[in-house]
């Protein structure tokens, strides 16, 4: 067997040497005439590639399904408007399994396999925290649609930005006055036991104390938990308000068991809609939610004063007036969060256009252009409402909604101002080098 193989090896080696020589020649020419090489690169570049890190499987899949629908609709809108800088935009979606380790691997695939220009999309904060360091190493602009405070806290890096959705800290400090004035001063918190839940725990506890209230019990639940009745007896009898926020596939079980536990005799309920995202509020066993309150980033049910921008967005992402899919009324969307994907893509487009983005060499220019953004007025690009972007902390700030369950629908009863959500800067990413 050997002779044939040997000749093949020799041939390959010679061929390889030849190829190497040719490559060296091309590279040398490129070095001598950098301008020509660069132009040739620009001319040969095809569409702008945006990597979409999506939770298709794992505990974030309900969000992932809707984030993907919104991303697809937003990209096709951008392409209908002529793309970005005259180039078509191509979305490359990869499943991260809602898993931090796979999240980082997916970033590497976007960078080295697909040659993406930027990456966007993840919601779950442990995936963001697991992936962001890799984004920094790969010098890959990473636009997250999470809610964690990790971006604005300075824990991440200059390549990670959150321009499409507000963070937990700003949400809870703007909600706390409503809770203490309307529902009660003694609060028991139930939250998922990971980064996102810890943001709720830390910032709401401080925010309610600033209002003269008190968190009398904190109940942390592992995010993969499937049964919850065992946690409820820890709620003290003198609780005025139960503040609940839960995520993952078991959210329906969580609210149902909470109703069974209280049996209609419980304290006031204030929930983050996360406890009910992608869940039909008229599901059997959820009747007890009537009269309780929820935070919503964007109101799931079309409100009487819905703007034309929101109506256009609702139609584009295929959602009816009840927040469910136009094709299947039982397929309830993650409406309170998924606008963040739409708005993030609008920001990427605006940033690339402002910086004259051409290729991966212009990535730092893209980040600087986004950092320079401030006001983002209500528009088709920002259907959730006015926003203010803070370039130093890489975090956007916007209005928050509190809705009440009335006749099985969420009706907005309060909207905060942007000023209610602001807090002092904790980092200045613009001082970090690229």
């Amino acid at each position: 067997m050997t002779e044939k193989d040997q000749s093949a090896t020799t041939f390959t080696r010679r061929k390889a040497l030849g190829a190497l020589g040719a490559a060296a020649g091309v590279a040398g020419a490129g070095m001598l005439m950098p301008g020509i090489a660069r132009m040739a690169h620009a001319q040969s570049s095809g569409p702008i590639k945006l990597g979409f890190q999506v939770h298709r499987t794992g505990i974030g899949s309900a969000y992932g399904r809707w984030y993907e629908r919104v991303a697809t609709a937003a990209i096709s809108r951008i392409n209908d408007m002529g793309g970005i800088n005259g180039r078509e935009v191509e979305m490359i979606a990869e499943d991260d399994g809602t898993d931090p380790r796979r999240g980082a691997e997916v970033l590497e695939r976007f960078a080295s396999l697909h040659n993406c220009d930027a990456v966007f999309g993840p919601l779950f904060s442990h995936v963001v925290i697991g992936s962001a360091p890799r984004a920094g190493e790969l010098k890959m602009p990473y636009f997250v649609v999470s809610e964690g405070h990790h971006v604005a806290s300075g824990a991440l890096n200059r390549y990670t930005l959150q321009p499409g959705i507000t963070d937990v800290k700003s949400q809870v400090i703007s909600m706390a006055p409503f809770v203490s004035e309307n529902l009660g001063k003694k609060v028991t918190m139930i939250y998922p036991d990971f980064a996102f839940g810890h943001d709720h725990r830390d910032f709401f506890t401080a925010a309610i104390a600033a209002q003269g209230g008190e968190v009398i019990q904190q109940i942390a639940v592992p995010p993969t938990e499937t049964s919850f009745t065992r946690y409820f007896p820890s709620i003290p009898r003198d609780t005025d308000v139960v503040y609940h926020v839960m995520v993952g596939p078991a959210v329906l079980t969580f609210v149902r068991e909470m109703g069974e536990f209280f049996g209609g005799r419980g304290p006031q309920l204030f929930g983050f809609i996360d406890s009910l995202e992608a869940v039909d509020i008229t599901s059997p066993g959820l009747e007890f939610l009537e009269g309780s309150y929820f935070w919503e980033g964007m109101c799931r049910y079309a409100q009487p004063d819905q703007t034309s921008h929101e109506a256009a967005y609702r139609a584009a992402v295929g959602v009816d007036a009840n927040g469910a899919s136009l094709d299947d009324a039982r397929d309830v969307s993650t409406y309170a969060h998924m606008f963040g994907v739409w708005e993030t893509l609008a920001v990427i487009k605006a940033g690339m256009e402002a910086s004259g983005y051409q290729g991966s060499n212009d990535r730092s220019g893209l980040i600087e252009a986004v950092e320079a953004m401030t006001d983002m007025p209500l528009s088709d690009d920002h259907p959730q409402g006015d926003k203010v972007f803070n370039g130093k902390t890489h975090q956007v700030f916007g209005k928050q909604n509190i809705s009440r369950v009335e006749s099985g629908k969420l009706v907005r009863v309060h909207q905060t101002s942007i000023e209610d959500t602001l807090y002092a800067d904790e980092v200045d990413y613009t001082t970090q080098s690229f």
Binding site: A62, P222, T226, P233, L252
Partner: protein, 305 residues
């Protein structure tokens, strides 16, 4: 919540866990006892039962009870048939070699999980319970006027959770009758004690093994169908039942049915009580510690021979 009512609630929660666990672990135990196969895919058969329960219940979408009855009858049968097929197709061909069966069932675990993901999707799917009224429970307290009944806040159970406990007892009694009073049980026990001798006496061991593997998976599926109305069907739900079933089977004694039931009650109740009073993570730690202690001090388990 005061201590007494709190303990009662914990015990009820623990009893539900124990009921489901006993069904799942008995399935694992029978398969190991008769076939000497450590079925690592057992948790995935549990998950399949739950997912089929959801699809069957949605197919019979009229009244929740109709869907549920159809699910409890059909889902275990389908899962059992699939498992029997897997036994014929895979385990029989590797001659039930202990090391190879472990690797083969690990492979089966991933195949079932990915196939479910690809066909049913990653979402959690609810099944509506056939009935689900909340039953508030009374408690006694001693006041100046003597003992008085009162209704503590939060102390309640649902009619469906009570049903789970009764249903599990009924199924387990049925299994006990099957093992001790029927010809099939006799053949199973004969195969368990001496495979070659049973074969020499004309027992079709291959067919018995397929039935036993199907029965084990079917029992996991029964547990799953019972649990879906209080949890939800999800493609990743097989991990916990598998781990806890192993814990129960090791503590109870490999292959011993009474041991498995005792251990399931023990682990289920401790899990319920410790989870309520301390934390669910501590309950898992203690269960794992118990396995370690059993392996060190009584390797054959509580009732193992």
């Amino acid at each position: 919540m005061e201590f007494g009512p709190h303990l009662l609630l914990a015990t009820l929660e623990g009893a539900v866990t124990a009921a489901i666990l006993a069904l799942t672990a008995i399935g694992l135990s029978i398969v190991f006892g008769v076939m000497r196969v450590v079925n690592v895919a057992h948790g995935e058969f549990f998950m399949l039962g739950a997912v089929f329960a959801w699809s069957i219940a949605s197919f019979f979408g009229s009244h929740p009870a109709v869907g549920f009855v159809a699910a409890i009858l059909l889902a275990p049968l389908i899962v059992g048939a699939l498992a029997a097929g897997a036994d014929r197709l895979i385990l029989q061909r590797i001659d039930y070699n202990p090391e190879r069966t472990i690797v083969a069932t690990i492979g089966l675990l991933y195949i079932i999980q990915q196939a479910t993901l690809m066909t049913f999707g990653p979402d959690a799917r609810p099944v509506e319970p056939p009935f689900n009224s909340v039953i508030a429970l009374p408690w006694l307290e001693h006041t100046e006027a003597g003992w008085q009944v009162y209704w503590p806040w939060g102390l309640s159970v649902t009619s469906y959770k009570l049903f789970i406990i009764f249903a599990a007892v009924a199924v387990l009694s049925g299994i006990w009758l099957l093992m001790t009073r029927t010809r099939f049980g006799l053949i199973m026990r004969a195969t368990q004690q001496d495979r070659e001798m049973a074969q020499a006496f004309g027992v079709p061991v291959d067919r018995v093994f397929a039935y036993v593997f199907g029965l084990g998976a079917g029992l996991a599926a029964v547990g799953a169908v019972l649990v879906v109305p209080v949890q939800q069907a999800h493609y990743l739900m097989g991990h916990d039942p598998l781990l806890l079933s192993f814990v129960v089977v090791i503590i109870g004694g490999l292959g011993s049915l009474p041991g498995t039931v005792i251990a399931a009650v023990l682990i289920g109740l401790t899990d319920g009580i410790i989870s309520v009073f301390f934390s669910p993570t501590l309950a898992k730690i203690i269960a794992t510690l118990a396995v370690g202690m059993v392996l060190v001090f009584r390797p054959r388990g509580l009732m193992g021979k």
